[in-house]
């Protein structure tokens, strides 16, 4: 008797697993699920946060020019070069032989200049004219902060 009991338990277990699958997000019942392959995969920052690995670079924040935006010395910025920079984005630019991290302000684009805005009253915005050879090096998509 004890043997058949354990057999029953075993079948139950399998059935439950299949039920779970039916409720997996985005999966239609009765279909050999493509989600099956992902069932056991853990969350993975590399896979889930970085949309364009071939265009993604990392940078370490130095200085306090963005501290009011919560971007502080030692933080790691995840930079995606393939993203088209837009007004208000945090971007990485290259000025006077240095990489800089700032807000991109395109308000005055029609007037022939753009501004790189810091997030700290100690610093003033950097004005860039049409004639300056400046390009946005990449757009910051995440900032990683170490607490401990």
């Amino acid at each position: 008797m004890s043997i058949s009991m354990s057999e029953i338990k075993l079948i139950k277990g399998e059935f439950k697993e299949k039920l779970d699958l039916l409720f997996a997000p985005g999966v239609k019942a009765g279909f050999p699920s493509p989600a099956e392959d992902y069932l056991h995969e853990s969350l993975d920052f590399n896979r889930d946060l970085i949309r364009h690995p071939e265009a993604t670079f990392y940078g370490r924040v130095a200085g306090d020019s963005m501290q009011d935006a919560g971007i502080c010395e030692g933080d790691i910025a995840v930079i995606d070069r393939s993203v088209e920079p837009q007004d208000g984005d945090v971007i990485v630019g290259y000025i006077n032989g240095e990489f800089t991290i700032k807000f991109l302000d395109l308000t005055h684009r029609k007037d022939g200049y753009i501004e790189l805005r810091p997030a700290n009253k100690k610093y003033s915005p950097i004005r860039i004219d049409e004639n300056d050879s400046f390009e946005v090096w990449g757009v910051v998509i995440w900032v990683i902060k170490k607490w401990k």
Partner: protein, 463 residues
Amino acid sequence: MFGIVDCDNCYVSCERVFRPDLNGKPVVVLSNNDGCVVARSNEAKAMGIKAGTPYFKLQQQYPDKDIAVFSSNYELYGELTGRVVEIIRQEAPAYLTSSRNCSRSGIKINSDVSRLPAVFRYSIDECFVYFNGNGNDFQFSTLHSSLKEWGENLHKRIKKSVGMPVSIGIAPTKTLAKMASHFAKKYKGYHHCCLIDTDEKRMKALKLYPIDEVWGIGRRYAARLQALGVQTAYDFAQHHESWVRATFNNIVILRTWKELNGIDCVPNEEMARKKSICTSRSFNGMVTDFDTLRTHVSNYAARCAEKLRQQGTVATIVSVFVNTNFFREDLPQYWNFQEKRLTVGTNSTIEIVKAATEVLRDIYIEGYHYKKAGVIVMGISPTSPQQLDLFDYNAEQFQKMQRLDAAIDRLNKVNGSETVVLGSQQYTQKDGKGKANVFANAIRHDHRSKNPTTRWSDIIKLK
């Protein structure tokens, strides 16, 4: 149709990714050990700096010119070009091939139609892309109106995502594609992509193209062709096939002739395996004693063996060359180049190092100041099947060697290169910790850039 994507001044462009201030300025990259110039920016080329110029001559010739100089940083170049290849893979259309075509190239396919990878990396800075048919029936034709537009967009995406400028050539054969990529590189009007898709365009390109720049025509053959009155690719292509056969009796030349005439015939396998592998370096200073020289040569031989194993090939010829410093006219000069043929092809570190050491023993003469040495392995063929020599071949020994080499490769991959080396690879000067460090430090790289894509300590600083 074939496309080739070629990185413009690859090493220089890699350095510029993290030094945008160097755009528009002369930049050179030096060979291993900072010996001579191996890569030049367009500005450096315009100044008249030739590839191969020794570094010290560069300093003498342009004392007051502001030239940015970098030691070669293959870690960086490998990583960035890997990104370029990845983007090409994403953009390349699915390549479908019928079983007939496959069996010709030696691959057995059961189904009628099969998918093959459409992208083939040819070297660190070149990549081939295969297109089905004549270019009108692509799956992505809804996205791009033509192959030309596809190429222009590919360049834009690579430039934006990685920061690498590329030139793209697309044509009915690989040789013509390579030619097209040169036009794309040379003339801005092509917007980085040159397409040869009609006979008219092909003829025009051939007429403009010097014979000595044709892919697959070596310097020697180019000279012979020029002596026969062939100046351009067009002159060559216009000759009759029988003339080519009779004059050269060489399969590679005949293939090139066919390819210029639009007949695809350079096999993929051939592109993958290079004809020889060379590892050589100029020494940091000069070497007089045999033991130090042997250590250098052993390391170069070991590197060749490693490269062979990576390719899955074996070599039957191991050659070694040495030379003194030709710039030191005050010292006696000597150079030599000898080879040893092996009865059985090998890629075993032990066997190749042993053969190289034997050759070195023959050519080494005491009393000279040696500046450079190198090991070249040739006669390269796939690992199996091999021509077996009944007397020399010992199956048990062979398998043992293979297992040992596999273990060495694994250790060096996990723990960093040169973790495990042969005794003869060790330098006699020791740092107390191990040989590997000493070897790494023996190479000079005074101007090496950081590795912002492979080391956390080197990621860019954002102010």
